[in-house]
């Protein structure tokens, strides 16, 4: 049963991957600027430029270039960076782990914060906590993350000097400095997420608190606390799981900005630099990885959903 579900899922994924990579491939070539010129500089002779072009296969039609890339990718070869000559998969590996640490922290902040605000707001309706949660739910999505990042840096790094403003240490090397350095970027990344989850879960909880089965629970003699945690929450989480899944994709995109501001050597930075240099093998690789991650997350979302809701069958 489950295997069938998995296979069906994969069948959807393949055309999706093909289309997105093709779009990205063509888009990069549409960007004005030439990688070869970027490498050789303006003073390069025409012959030299043409030669390098041929070497890189850039003289061929776009479709052919794409199929060439695709064929290699299927065989596990993502090529080399046009600019630095580094293997693309190597560059991806190095940066992916960094970005994942950032995104995971961002997701944890979002989920914990969102759950906290939504539940307290429902538990103490019309209290100041409720108003804070509602305010935050609206405000959080309205503030762009680069602004949050800069305010945080000014306040906590420059004024209070509590945590470093930029830089990154991997959790496997030094957990303590990892934590110090990840707090600000993690929070900048998660503010919107906290707001989205708070708002969605709050309205979802409000609905389930009025549901007949919660009334049944009360008629059994449960307390408000038990009504929320044992009866309302699991049901209220169902639609929110989808939101959380989608949030992951948004957050992955937002890392581009946050990594740049906090000078975190992750995939976001990698792709920003690569776009600047028209290094499209790298860009293509990053896009591929991001799409695969989003697909994997969607898949996990579906599984979590099925675990929470016994009515779902594969």
């Amino acid at each position: 049963m489950f295997l069938k579900f998995l296979l069906r899922r994969l069948l959807y994924v393949i055309p999706m991957l093909l289309i997105t990579t093709l779009i990205v491939f063509s888009l990069i070539l549409l960007i004005p600027g030439d990688p070869v010129l970027a490498m050789l500089g303006d003073s390069a002779t025409h012959e030299k430029v043409e030669e390098l072009r041929r070497q890189l296969g850039l003289d061929q039609p776009v479709m052919l270039q794409y199929f060439h890339w695709l064929n290699n990718a299927i065989h596990g070869d993502l090529g080399r960076s046009i600019f630095t000559g580094q293997l693309v998969d190597e560059a991806l590996m190095q940066t992916l782990f960094v970005t994942m640490q950032l995104v995971v922290v961002g997701m944890i902040f979002s989920i914990v914060g969102g759950l906290f605000f939504a539940i307290t707001s429902i538990y103490f309706p019309n209290s100041w906590m409720d108003y804070v949660a509602r305010f935050f739910g609206t405000l959080g999505t309205a503030i762009p993350n680069f602004l949050v990042a800069m305010v945080l840096i000014i306040f906590f790094s420059l004024k209070l000097n509590w945590v470093p403003a930029t830089g990154f240490t991997s959790i496997v090397h030094e957990p303590v400095s990892f934590l110090q350095q990840i707090i600000l970027p993690g929070f900048s990344l998660s503010l919107a997420g906290i707001a989205v989850i708070t708002r969605h879960l709050r309205s979802s909880l409000m609905e389930t608190m009025d549901a007949d089965y919660v009334r049944t629970a009360y008629s059994k003699g449960v307390s408000r606390y038990q009504a929320i945690f044992k009866h309302s929450l699991q049901n209220a989480m169902l639609p929110v799981v989808t939101t959380i899944g989608l949030l992951f994709g948004t957050m992955l995109g937002a890392t581009v900005v946050v990594e740049t501001i906090f000078a975190i050597p992750g995939m976001g930075q990698l792709v920003v630099n690569a776009i600047g240099q028209r290094d499209f093998t790298i860009v293509q690789g990053v896009v591929l990885v991001m799409i695969v991650m989003v697909i994997v997350i969607n898949f996990i979302t579906d599984i979590v959903y099925a675990l929470l809701d016994p009515r779902i069958e594969y």
Binding site: A211, D212, Y213, R215, T216, A217, Y218, S219, K220, G221, V222, S223, K230, H231, Q234, N235, L308, D309, P310, R311
Partner: protein, 341 residues
Amino acid sequence: MNTETLLKVNHLKAYIPSSKGEIKPVNDISFSIKKGEIVALVGESGSGKSVSSLSIMGLNAGAIKYRPDSSILFEGQDLLKLKEKELRKIRGNDIAMIFQDPMSSLNPVHPIGRQIAESIVLHKKVSYKEAKKTALDLLNKVGIPDAERRLNDYPHQLSGGMRQRAMIAIALACNPKLLIADEPTTALDVTIQSQILNLLRDLQKEFGISILLITHDLGVVAETADRVLVMYCGQIVEEGTVEEIFENPQHPYTKGLMDSIPSLYGPSKEILDAIPGVVPNPLELPNGCNFVTRCAFATEKCYEVSPVLEKHSSGTRVSCWNPLTKEALSENDRESAVIVT
């Protein structure tokens, strides 16, 4: 039958303050339920029957307030004066409730067994494992076949009738003294309806539970109840034993309800005699009798003075200036009031 009184509702007045004026979903009702008795509270939606029953459970929405002279005595204790924490000990333990739609009233994400065991663990000092065992017994008792397996089933895996049986099992989990059944069969198929009613009656006999049966359907009443309270616009308009009410409905409203039962046995009528008109807006109740806008027997007095619930010669209580008599009934379609048993 035991004659001890279990529940006594005195002058229950529930109101909702609003900017346009006060709404009184329950406007001064008094009744009592004896031990082991099945009392039916009958009325259309909006008559105040649900608010009355939820008042007993203390589960009305926060907007609904009670007048200070209202009281609901359960074994001598005034439920309206209890704190939430004390009420919680009574809910599900001494007083349990089942609801109209068993699908939406059961938690869709918990197995049936867990939902039954939850009640038990809440009120009794037993382990979850023992509670599960009791849950199994209960499922057998309410007639769910293959109970062992059903324990781990989710509500969506059960049929409508089975779900309502499961609801009843939850309600019975702690051997309550009073069971409030709010339209327990309305959402079910006709064939299943009588099975559930039979089950309720059997359980009442077996455990001596008192049942307050809330319904709009006099057919359900005839099958199940001992005594009937008919509510209209927040007030009780007639009260009597099932026999009395079906033999001789004295209030024109009761008579109207009776005429709208499709009779299974009597001669089938082309069109059921429905009560003309609609329930008045709670903010614009008529002067005098609340039923006056729809009553075929209204006289001048009815427009001016509200009738009070009075004991009549037959022993029933009725609030009407012109109560119908048996003789008057027999003149027109008597057959429609034939008791269905």
